[in-house]
């Protein structure tokens, strides 16, 4: 924890303008069991900052908690623990009107444009809905200029400006010299639509168009902003292509002029050429409206393209966090290495050595005790005696230990569990056959063989528990015992959560070259 604290300070020095600050955030879903009630730890202690105007990418495999994290940030899920500060306001405890007001600033674009648009509403209605819900526009009037103090605002549609409530004034009346009126761009009125009369201490403001008319004008403008045609206003979602539907979703998210938009896999369902158009649109909108994005995606190429900084998630934890260039070109964390190497390159001549991970991520209901990635990590730290052990042999020992560990959980299915890690056929093999399958084709050095044999002997005698402890003492390492801290790995403040960043171990990148790739 101490390291992540020091990171906070460095970041708050460099990052001048933090919009979102997340510290040790946890979102657990309660387990439904009657006797055993283990929660699903979807997000398990995540900390990061998002600077105003930047795009933070959140990548990871499905089930790693990236969507839950996004939903927690907009309070669609409630956090179990930790803090979320938005522009200095603690979000996790907001409620009632405060929550509703805050939500205007934070919007979300969903992955599936089909299921996030109501089939029975026209596009106009869909985009207008948030405006209706939040009673947009307030038509708040601010009075400036000489003698504006103590002046009250009157008028049937308008209300006096209140910074807490409105953020910014919609209409600004200046009393300097002749009375002049300014109207915010988002509200489609000309000055002729606003009449102002000053009666002593009271400024009476009359607005000609109705709120409905203003909303409709706003919707038309939004459709234009996202590249849709005016005639689309009266159409229904089924009349649109996937890309157009996503544009509608974006228009709806922008309706209330938010500062922060969470994009949850906004282009995953789209074709490559359409995807490119939406990505360009998102970039344009960010420039135009000074938006801050949290971009959730599993496509690393897309993330690399659009994001300034990237957080890589695995099993509810952030494994690596930092500038996009560093994460992709100077990768630090073993999981990031594995993830990057799994992406197929659109170049058949590219010869890259792939790190194939065994198995699937463990259940977030029962995460590993040490590093979350320790069950699949190809770069797990070894005890000194086995530093030079052949990679295949080391991997085999890991598999063997996995098998025994599983036996503990499910006494009958030792072989079945073993197969989960190897894909070997005969499920009725006994312990000798397992040993043979795992180590048979390998040349295991004597020092390792001795310990394996001792363990096998223990299993044979029916004491698998003891065998596990024995193997753990002999082959176990810090990776399985303690959760790693976040270490700073570059001058830009990029951090990676891995024990290998400690000085006494070989760094993941070096280890990858020397131990994982060359054979």
């Amino acid at each position: 924890m101490s390291t992540s604290d020091s990171r906070t300070t460095t970041e708050s020095v460099t990052g001048s303008d933090t919009l979102v600050r997340v510290r040790d955030l946890k979102t657990y879903y309660p387990g439904g069991g009657i006797i055993e009630d283990k929660p699903v730890k979807a997000v398990d202690g995540v900390s990061f900052d998002i600077q105003r105007g930047e795009t933070l990418g959140l990548v990871g495999e499905s089930g790693c908690g990236k969507t839950t994290l996004g939903r927690t940030l907009v309070r669609l899920e409630s956090a179990t623990a930790g803090e979320i500060k938005y522009d200095g306001t603690e979000v996790t405890s907001l409620s009632g009107t405060d929550l509703k007001r805050w939500r205007r600033n934070v919007q979300m674009v969903f992955q599936d444009p089909d299921s996030s648009l109501n089939e029975r509403m026209t596009i106009g209605e869909i985009v207008q809905e948030p405006l209706n819900v939040h009673d947009w526009p307030y038509l708040s009037v601010a009075v400036t200029g000489g003698g504006s103090d103590g002046v009250s605002v009157a008028g049937s549609k308008v209300e006096a400006f209140d910074r807490e409530r409105h953020g910014r004034p919609d209409i600004t009346v200046s009393l300097d010299g002749s009375t002049s009126v300014e109207i915010r761009d988002a509200i489609h009125m000309s000055q002729a639509d606003v009449s102002v009369s000053v009666n002593g201490d009271e400024v009476e403001v009359g607005v000609k168009p109705s709120k409905k008319q203003l909303r409709r004008a706003r919707v038309r403008e939004l459709l234009d902003t996202v590249g849709l045609q005016p005639e689309h206003y009266y159409r229904y979602p089924h009349q649109f292509s996937g890309g157009q539907k996503q544009r509608i979703g974006i228009a709806r998210a922008l309706a209330l002029e938010p500062d922060f938009v969470i994009l949850d896999e906004p282009v995953s369902a789209l074709d490559a050429s359409v995807q490119a158009k939406i990505l360009n649109l998102l970039e344009d909108l960010q420039d135009e409206f000074d938006l801050t994005y949290l971009f959730i995606a599993h496509d690393l190429a897309v993330v690399e393209h659009i994001c300034d900084r990237v957080a890589v998630m695995y099993l509810g934890n952030v494994m690596e966090l930092g500038d996009a260039e560093g994460v992709f070109d100077d990768t630090a964390n073993p999981y990031t290495h594995s993830l990057l190497s799994a992406i197929p390159e659109p170049d058949p001549t590219a010869e890259k050595q792939r790190i194939t991970l065994r198995g699937t991520p463990p259940s977030p209901r029962d995460p590993p005790s040490g590093c979350p990635f320790s069950t699949r990590c190809p770069m797990k730290i070894r005890p000194e005696a086995y530093d030079d052990l052949d990679n295949d042999v080391w991997e085999a020992i890991q598999i063997f230990r996995d098998v025994l560990r599983e036996r503990e959980n499910r006494e009958k299915s030792v072989t079945q569990q073993f197969l989960e890690f190897t894909g070997i056929r005969d499920p009725y093999a006994d312990i000798d056959e397992i040993v043979d399958e795992v180590f048979g084709h390998l040349d295991v050095p004597d020092n390792a063989t001795r310990h394996i044999e001792t363990a096998v002997e223990m299993v044979r005698e029916g004491d698998s528990d003891e065998a596990r402890t024995y193997l753990h003492e002999e082959f176990g390492s810090v990776c399985e015992q303690e959760p790693p801290d976040a270490y700073e790995v570059s001058e830009t403040g990029r951090v990676s959560t891995c024990h290998r960043h400690q000085a006494e171990y070989e760094s993941p990148a070096d280890y990858l070259q020397t131990h994982v790739l060359d054979d």
């Binding site: 360009n280 970039e283 058949p348």
Partner: protein
């Protein structure tokens, strides 16, 4: 034209499956959608042929046509799908002798014939094909699942949630191989093991929801392999999966291909996956193939403006920070016969002729080996007007052939 045909035919003989001028249309009240509009290609044993394109380009309809899965209002309106698996041809020739044309006995291929025997050695057929496009439903049912299998995109919807995985594999075994009971269970277990599913004997009794996404797709592949097919059609098999799992599935497909000498038709929109797994690639646009080449050639040297646009719109290592190239407009619906280039309205290189000459697949240049593009710019080593003329002549030749 005639000389060309013979060379083409000779090459085809090596193909396990050859599709010739396939047309599949959907007839709606409003319009006729020519989802597959004159597509030809072949797949050899042991190779992977890719079909790439955006959604709505007709990739899946091509696959479903081959599988005989086109349902009303859709219909195969022309062309041939010749399947040359000899075991199947032998079985079919015996079973459907009335619909068999035996060229060795001087038969002519009649209108209703869909089994053609081209060469035989005594009773053994050594060359012949089944034309799936013309076969009736019951004959198609026989090929589907036994000689040709298909893996769909979403493993959860292609498995029935109320039956165990084992039951679903056993159903295929019962229908196509007549296996039942213990024998079928043993076979199902060994299939699950073949696709790398651990503890198969327990898994075989489990339901799809108990499997993880990657595991489900493995189970679907096991079902597809149940009847030892020679051709496997994969329709976006990894699109719903994570990259690390996708890598595992692609590896599995390669292994199975090596073990069983499978021919694989691989449909996807992911250029990275294509580059990884395909030997040859066809690029599909609005119902037509617009470019075909070996994977290496296609990615290294794309010729058709659509392929070029598609490749440059993928975010990759080189486009960091820059704007992504896009292709203007949307994929059109092919609802009328193509008398023009369907890509012309979006093409940055379009010129006048593009609007009234329909381009056909042509070698991209004199030395091109197995690299064709359907674009008036090619062959690139002849003057523009001559190139356009060639496309025009080949079009009219094709038309007269049809009218004959």
């Amino acid at each position: 034209m005639s000389t060309m045909h013979t060379t083409e035919e000779r090459a085809e003989e090596e193909f396990l499956l050859s599709v010739e001028d396939l047309n599949t249309s959907f007839f709606t009240d409003k319009e006729t959608i020519r989802a597959v509009d004159g597509v030809s290609f072949g797949i050899q044993r042991g190779e992977t042929v890719g079909v790439v394109g955006e959604s709505g380009s007709g990739k899946s309809v091509t696959a479903r046509s081959i599988m005989g899965l086109i349902e009303s209002p859709g219909k195969i309106t022309g062309g041939h799908i010749k399947y040359r698996g000899l075991d199947a041809v032998q079985t079919f020739a015996n079973r459907y002798s009335r619909s068999t044309a035996d060229l060795t006995k001087g038969d002519e291929v009649g209108e209703n014939d869909y089994v053609v025997v081209e060469e035989r050695d005594g009773d053994t057929i050594t060359e012949g094909y089944i034309d799936i496009a013309n076969a009736p439903e019951n004959a198609r049912n026989r090929i589907r699942g036994s000689s040709i299998s298909m893996v769909f995109q979403d493993p959860l919807t292609s498995l029935n949630p109320v039956y165990t995985v084992g039951n679903q594999i056993k159903e295929a075994l019962r229908l196509h191989q007549g296996l039942r009971g213990r024998e079928a269970t043993a076979e199902a277990i060994s299939l699950l093991e073949a696709v790398g599913i651990p503890d198969a004997p327990r898994r075989v009794k489990e339901y799809p929801h108990q499997f993880s996404g990657g595991m489900r797709q493995r189970a679907v592949i096991a079902t597809a392999l149940a009847c030892d097919p020679e051709l496997l059609i994969c329709d976006e098999p990894t699109t719903a999966l994570d990259v690390t799992i996708q890598a595992q599935i692609l590896e599995l497909l390669k292994e199975l291909q090596d073990e069983r000498d499978l021919a694989i038709m691989f449909i996807t929109h992911d250029m990275g996956v294509v580059a990884e797994i395909c030997d040859r690639v066809n690029v599909m646009y609005a119902g037509e193939f617009v470019e075909r080449a070996s994977a290496k050639e296609l990615f290294g040297n794309p010729k058709h403006p659509y392929t070029q646009g598609l490749l440059s719109s993928i975010p990759s290592r080189n486009t960091e920070g820059e704007r992504l190239a896009t292709i203007e407009g949307d994929v059109p619906t092919p609802n009328e016969p193509a008398t023009y280039c369907r890509f012309a309205p979006r093409c940055p290189k379009a010129f006048e002729d593009c609007e009234h000459v329909h381009p056909v697949l042509t070698d991209v240049n004199e030395d091109a080996q197995d690299h064709e593009a359907a674009c008036l710019l090619y062959p690139e080593d002849v003057p523009q007007t001559e190139a356009v003329d060639r496309h025009e002549t080949r079009n009219s030749a094709a038309e007269t052939e049809v009218s004959e």
